[in-house]
Amino acid sequence: MNILTRILRTPLGIAAVVMLTLVVATAIFAPILWGEEAAAVDTDNMLAGPSLEHPIGTDQLGRDLLLRVLVATRLSVTLAVLATLVAVSAGLILGVAPLLLGRHIGRGVTWLVGVAVAFPGLLLALSFAVIFGSGWLGAVLAIGLAGAPSFARLCQTLIAGVASRDFVAAARIGGVGRFRVLTRHVLPNIGEPLIVNATIGAGGALLAFAGLSFIGLGVQPPDYDWGRLMMEGLLGIYVNPLAALAPGMAVVIAGLSFNLVGEAAARSLGIQVGGFTSKVRKAASKPVTAPAAVVAADAADNDDVVLDVRDLRVSFPGPAGDVRPVRGVSFSVRRGEAVGIVGESGSGKSVTALSIAQLVESPGVVEAKALSFLGEDLVHGDTARHRKLLGTSLAMVFQDPMTSFNPTKRMGAQLAEVATEHQGLSRKEALARAIDRLDAVRITDPAQRAKQYPHEFSGGMRQRAMIGMGLMGAPALIIADEPTTALDVTVQQQVLDLLEAIRERDDVALLLISHDVSVVAEVCDRVLVMYAGRIVEDLPAADLATAAKHPYTRALLAAVPDMDTHLHLPLATIAGRPVDPAQLPEGCAYAARCPLADARCRAVDPHLATDEDGDRVACWRAGEPMPLGMPQVRTGVETNETEGVLV
């Protein structure tokens, strides 16, 4: 019933269900209401054309065709459903067999199904029809068995998907028998997709039946279904075309209703393709003169500011209103400086990086009071010029090296593209430069490697190639979004060393995003701690261990075990869960988890205040000592008894 209510929420779903209900109702009631009339022979009126009395005409025995079409619904639909049941049952058995019958027989079955699946259903149906003979039973078996291989393949895929999940392994390890695993774990989890496909399959079976009957193999007289009616009608097509087309339309309507119900169900169960495009807009509230003032002030401030971000906000439309993963982030990065953004999931750090790089697409909306790169205002200004600037002076490194390269293009070509597009180099020159860059990122044998495809590179090599791609121009800033999260720790070290070397050699600034505080502490000069879409602290990396002021920063540092963690004490934890970006509280977003929170914290959101050292922190109680029993900043003062807080 769950599926049904979900389907009925969309207009498509409603239309489909209504159609199907009509079809089923006709199937049930038409023979009752009009069965006799449809069989009434009228020798005076044979092969008549459409008229008021007979809207579609009559057949060669004078029987009313419209009624015959309506009455035929029952047989057509019933047989299609029967055939589908045969197909699904056979498919289930074949699909489940490998699980129950052991490895070797299972593999044989899988292979056989694989061969059978290559052959179109109609061919199989014809072959089976030869064996089973004509008539409705033979046709049901023929079409049913013809559909079995694709259902078997579907079952196999679904089952493999479920069986690979850990809870199935856990059940097996727990001593649960194979059969019970199948019935309690596997089947319930494949039920929904199977039913949806069966519904669409019923539509296909209907069409297949029509086809078989059309060539005389299916239903035999005196029974008649739509296919048979079409065949009879085809003979008189020059005289009364409706005789053939009307049953055909019935086939289409019924088939459509099955297909649409299946599709609607699939949509309501499936995933939606989320969109994201980028439109950097100015914040609406600014008065006209202020923008000039803001930008000018910054320009006068620091000539070597590479990136300047003021009040960056990003929002996405969500099911219950807008979701704001970034709520007013401001910071700047100087030439050669390494700034780290640290935070957990939901903090908005990745979205910040993507929106700065202009890679957030609609329906996401990016707004900022100012966003400038190398003095170039990215909010307004010429997009063509931006393209070239961003393409050569900004380098991006993404998180997942396995999916960040085009699998169908050679590596050298993917690097060379940057140069041919933005630097006006010829193909050959660009490729030579690409090889040179691959060498610069310490990839051995770069000339050979450039001819390889991404899947021939290891994860660490791909990240280095990614960095190399960014070095095709002369980048002033590298934005690295969790560049080493997916890598082994030794490989991570190589990549971080490489970034360090590049920074030193070419005075390149770095914006490093990571959830790993130790990585950020090692690599960066300054650290921005983000929580719930805001920067909550901005301090030098060297001060992290000793002078963090925001309770979240301190808790984060205390919660991460490192090589010097006290072994005799429970690990510090942070109570509660990371905040849900869709449900932000009124006051400080961290208040619910903060041991220092008071009434003011919960009511009023603290702003990011700059102190005399130039550091920033957003907390009403910044720097205050934690209550006894809470993780302290490690200044060498350890309390004897520290209670870890359990989640």
Binding site: I173, T490, A559, M563, D564, T573, V645
Partner: protein, 252 residues
Amino acid sequence: MSELRFDDVTVRFGAGRTATTAVDGVSLTIPDGEVVGLVGESGSGKSTLARAAVGLAPITSGRILLDGAPIAPRRGYRPLQMVFQDPYSSLDPRMSIGDSIAEIIPRGLSRAARRDEVARLLELVHLDPTHARAYPGHLSGGMRQRVALARALAGRPEVLVADEITSALDVSIQGSVLNLVRELQAELGLSMLFISHNLAVVRYVASRVAVMYRGRIVEEGPTLQILEDPQHEYTRNLLAAIPGRAKTPTLI
């Protein structure tokens, strides 16, 4: 709880030229009541070794012995249980967590006794027993890992295998799960094989550690000793690669 011993275990996949040796002649002992950490990077074979122990991967040669005897899994009871890495895949989304746990409880208990046992286990992992009727979709990652722990313990195992159980959790949650592991170990005297790529975590939890590289154990011994005075070059590389080791001064 008992002693688990890997005796020259080799696990090979495939055949002929395309065969890969995931575990190559590994001998390792998990003493009774101790937590042994197994560290290594991807491709080291540590997960395969764990899966071989619980019967999810076939052993090509060698033996795995529990208290000196080969493991004989009976219907309904297996002496080794495992907790997996991905909290979102380790629980059946269509079963309440109480049912997931109850499924593993050995046969022979009445319905009521089973319910009580489920409640007891949930409390053991510091979860509210009324959560027994909740579905995994309503729980956070950290809570799911606790349920997974409770489920593993429901089987009254002799040895527990934990495969990267905190790697997929947020930093602020990891601590609570690790604290729980320590607590359970202290209370129940668990023998445990604790797999992780994170040396700091292993240091916190395990009394002995083994380092795996390319299917072989390259170094093994008491945790603090190995971490302070690594003998094998790979161990030294691993330690040096930890961010913050080489450059920033130690925090304290």
